[in-house]
């Protein structure tokens, strides 16, 4: 069945190219092939992009989108294939060549020097004169012109690191335009933005399009594809599966094309037996090293058998909250009670004790924290539990027991490849995440704190991970989930908390929430329109 879908899709896709043929193409990629060792990241990829349009490219992680864009931007050279820009065949073997061909790229992780001013960042590497002051004068006039034309307003003298993420992204766009880019590639641009910042970005993109700039938008968020693009191309397993006009397709069709089968996204099943509160947080404050509150006097509870989702733009105190709940950071003020153990500034606890309290933690950043990339999978599978007696029957770590444990958990959570000796770094993001979840969930925790459960994970694995979290919840575990994906929050949570600048600005049952209101609350733009309990939480937190 699934094969049939993909086959017909391919045929449609090829046929779908024809209407674009008579229009001027800004970019045309022909038969691009790229292999990394035995992995063929791009197989005979063709991509026509009509000048002056917004063209979306969707696909799962590892589908080859990023490789294709890296080829276009000169990070990699294709093994075979041709690149045409505005009808001329070009060879792009470095990002310098790409810039020369009029291509600019806005990376997912910004390439900015935090301590430089906006102006310095934009000029960096493209100074027009040996004297900085002369270049600055020229650059300022060009940038003012750009800002007026496209609504790209940023204070040029501001220190880049102090700006909100949305503005930093505008700096990246300005950087590309300052280098005279006529083609702009944006890689997952909305991942770090609030909904309102996303709207602003889309306004900018529309303005750019009206001025004739061609925009390539790489994303996995189908809602955004539908909202802003003119055409969309779908990649799967390194191949270009289909091209569609956005007006002639639907989210459902695109999702199906991406995954190669039907996707059931609503597995939302409400909690059945909610028990007593097993995590109680009262007036918790966490301070930075400069004594700035990162978590600001918050109180909430998580009950056994429910999932509480914490929504918020990243960097609003969620990470610090997770760290404190797991003993990685100390409590500065207030108290936490987990499983009857009281944690206060005078009675701290640490991650080792947290594990003995049956608290499990799936950290937000698996590379930095969840596993050791240089370890074998079977070494990462005991991270945090390396002192358990069953792994250490005597003085030594029992290799056989650990190996068997790794095999068992890999089978249980369908971790691929099923090789305990594989380097953790060589596993895909989804499989790394499954390995960590397997390690944590298998210990039958009574509390699970999980950050970004599906960040960088394929759609197929997302479903699996969500199922596991719901199953764990139904066994009576109290789960606190931090996620920047509102869809995920809406799907899994029984209650939703919204954090903004370290405070809780809303705490509600899932039934009372909708994505739009949540989005506004995340940007703290909600209390002016509706003075509900969310706004009250803000003011009471602010007084102390």
């Amino acid at each position: 069945m699934s094969d049939m879908i993909s086959d017909t899709a391919t045929q449609d896709g090829l046929a779908g190219e024809s209407p674009t043929n008579h229009l001027a193409l800004a970019i045309e990629l022909k038969n691009i092939n790229k292999s990394f060792g035995a992995v063929r990241a791009n197989k005979n990829v063709n991509l026509p992009v009509v000048a002056g349009t917004i063209h979306g490219i969707v696909g799962e992680n590892g589908a080859g989108k990023s490789t294709l864009m890296s080829i276009l931007y000169g990070f990699y050279e294709a093994d075979r294939g041709e690149v045409f820009i505005a009808g001329n065949k070009v060879r792009i073997d470095s990002s310098k060549a790409a810039i020369k061909a009029g291509i600019g790229m806005v990376h997912q992780h910004f390439m900015l020097v935090d301590t430089f001013t906006v102006l310095e960042n934009i000029m960096l590497g493209a100074e027009s004169s040996p004297l900085i002051s002369n270049s600055a004068i020229e650059a300022t006039s060009i940038l003012e012109h750009l800002a007026d034309n496209y609504g790209l307003h940023v204070r040029l003298s501001a220190i880049t690191g102090t700006l909100p993420v949305g503005e930093q992204q505008r700096v990246e766009i300005l950087k590309a335009l300052y280098r005279r880019a006529r083609i702009l590639i944006l890689d997952e641009p909305t991942g770090v933005l609030t909904p309102s910042e996303t709207d602003q970005l889309f306004e900018v993109l529309k303005a750019l399009k009206n001025e004739g700039v061609t925009i390539l938008l790489i994303t996995h968020k189908l809602r955004e594809i539908m909202a802003i693009t003119d055409c969309v191309s779908v990649m799967r397993h390194g191949e270009m599966i289909a091209h569609r006009k956005t007006s002639e397709t639907s989210k459902e069709e695109l999702a199906e094309l991406m995954v190669g089968r039907k996707v059931f996204d609503s597995l939302n099943r409400p909690a059945e037996k909610i028990g007593p509160a097993s995590v109680v947080v009262e007036n918790l404050t966490v301070l930075s090293s400069q004594n700035v509150p990162l978590v600001d006097n918050i109180s909430f509870q998580v009950r056994a058998g429910e999932i509480v989702g914490i929504a918020g733009v990243s960097g609003n105190g969620q990470s610090e909250l997770l760290d404190v709940l797991n003993g990685i950071r100390p409590v500065d003020q207030g108290r936490i009670v987990i499983n009857g153990r009281e944690i206060t500034p005078d009675h701290p606890f640490d991650p080792a004790e947290a594990r003995t309290l049956k608290i499990a933690h799936v950290p937000e950043d698996r590379h930095r924290m969840g596993l050791v990339t240089k370890f074998d999978a079977r070494e990462s599978i005991i991270l945090g539990y390396q002192r358990l007696t069953r792994y250490n029957p005597g003085m030594l770590l029992d290799q056989q027991v650990v190996n068997d444990e790794c095999n068992r958990l890999m089978a249980l959570f369908d971790v691929r490849p099923h090789q305990p000796e594989i380097k953790s770094a060589n596993m895909s993001g989804g499989n790394q995440q499954k390995l960590i979840l397997a390690r944590e969930i298998d210990k039958a925790p009574t509390e699970l704190f999980v950050g970004q459960p599906t960040r960088g994970v394929d759609i197929g694995a997302i479903e699996f991970i969500h199922e596991q979290l719901l199953d764990l919840r139904d066994t009576g575990c109290a789960i606190l989930m931090v996620s920047v994906e509102l869809d995920e929050i809406m799907q899994l949570s029984d209650r939703i908390i919204v954090m903004f600048e370290g405070r809780i600005v809303a705490d509600m049952a899932r039934e009372e929430a909708d994505i739009k209101t949540l989005g506004l609350m995340m940007a703290n733009a909600h209390d002016t329109t509706d003075a509900d309990h969310g706004a009250q939480a803000t003011s009471s937190a602010g007084e102390s």
Binding site: S35, F36, G37, A38, F75, Y76, N326, G327, I328, D350, P351, A352, E353, A354, R355, H361, P363, R368, M369, G370, L371, V372, T373, K374, F375, E379, I382, L383, G384, Q386, R387, Y391, N392, M395, L396, L397, Q399
Partner: protein
């Protein structure tokens, strides 16, 4: 580019590259020898014969190697915790002091069966405690361990001079040396041990410490790769954030790994004081602690590699001494320069040729693989 590059296979990384590094060093040394008007090939022959050509030479080579195994393992264990212990020299010095003090105190009243374990323990204890101070400063005060361990080498040297000149000197002599230990407080030489079994080999300073060195290699391997403590040390070395997440306290791991590191370096004192000199004296560490850094780097911080690298450096020390003796125009200083080149190319510049080798390997393997893939 990054994703396309295949990592080097192990045999190139730990086998071929060190060999190339040593070859480069010898090549440069050859040029220097040529410059002073001697034949480099002749000189190489003298060095190799000096190190391996006859019983006594082999004995000396292995005696030097024993010291390098101890200091190499010391550097390696700290390295696995992400620490660079430059203080092996001072820790070895103080470890030797520990052996000497224990023997001077007890050698009249105890048999060898008790004295040897006591010497081992005091070498480890003194070396370990001496490393614990910079470790504490790093773990709890944030002073960089490279700086503090370097400074502690000088402190060790000053302490030894003071003690030898003012306190421990055997009265009635000019040179700052202690009295000789009793016969019970001496490790047997290997030529003596072989003698017990009726095998005659030439006299050399090689003694029973070499067996302890090999035992230490096995113990270190087991500790690093087969125990929870080793697991925690490697976790901290690779990723301190992940270690905190896993409930491992990096400060404790720093203390633990540095104490073991210092203890291992202290065993140089076992070889030198208990095995060879049989008295306490100055400057017996002779740079072994610093050479241990090159040994560990060359041996890729693995006990097996460290043994191989130790034998190489032992051969350089012994063959070099022979060279200075046989060819008078090649002075002692010239030999030190040759040893310096090997340390430079296989220690400090150990990874210099890695990028080129990676490039070459990828070129060669790609041209070898592509046709096969095309068929498949």
């Amino acid at each position: 580019m990054n994703d396309t590059v295949k990592p080097l296979p192990r045999w190139i990384d730990v086998g071929l590259i060190p060999i190339i590094n040593v070859s480069i060093a010898l090549l440069v040394s050859g040029l220097v020898i040529l410059a002073v008007g001697e034949n480099p090939i002749e000189a190489t022959k003298v060095m190799i014969t000096g190190a391996f050509g006859y019983d006594e030479g082999v004995g000396y080579t292995l005696y030097y190697a024993t010291n390098f195994v101890f200091t190499g393992l010391a550097v390696a264990i700290a390295f696995h915790a992400g620490l660079f212990n430059i203080g092996g020299e001072g820790q070895a010095y103080i470890g030797g002091l520990g052996v000497g003090l224990a023997m001077l105190l007890l050698d009249a009243s105890m048999p060898a069966v008790l004295l040897v374990p006591i010497a081992i323990l005091s070498a480890a204890l003194f070396g370990g405690l001496y490393a614990a101070v910079p470790a504490y400063l790093q773990a709890y005060r944030g002073s960089h361990i490279v700086i503090t361990t370097i400074m502690f080498n000088f402190i060790a040297s000053a302490i030894m001079v003071y003690l030898m000149v003012n306190v421990l000197i055997n009265p009635g002599q000019q040179s700052p040396e202690s009295r000789e230990f009793s016969d019970a407080a001496q490790l047997p030489f290997m030529h003596e041990i072989f003698g017990w079994f009726g095998v005659t080999i030439a006299h050399s300073p090689l003694n029973l410490s070499i067996v302890w060195a090999l035992i230490c290699c096995v113990l270190v391997w087991v500790f690093i790769w087969r125990t929870k403590w080793g697991y925690e040390i490697r976790t901290v070395g690779f990723n301190e954030t992940a270690a905190s997440y896993a409930g491992i306290k990096p400060a404790r791991v720093i203390m633990l790994s540095m104490c073991i590191s210092g203890g291992l370096a202290g065993f140089v004192g076992l070889n030198e004081i208990l095995g060879v000199q049989h008295r306490l004296l100055l400057n017996f560490t002779a740079g072994y602690g610093f050479t241990g850094i090159a040994v560990s780097l060359m041996g890729r911080n693995h006990p097996f590699g460290i043994v191989l690298a130790s034998v190489l450096f032992g051969a350089l020390y012994q063959g070099g001494a022979e060279l200075a003796f046989e060819i008078p125009t090649i002075t002692r200083e010239m030999v030190v320069a040759i040893q310096g080149f090997v340390i430079l190319f296989s220690g400090a510049l150990a990874y210099m040729i890695t990028p080129w080798m990676t490039w070459l390997y990828n070129r060669l393997s790609r041209s070898a693989v592509t046709p096969v893939e095309a068929e498949g």
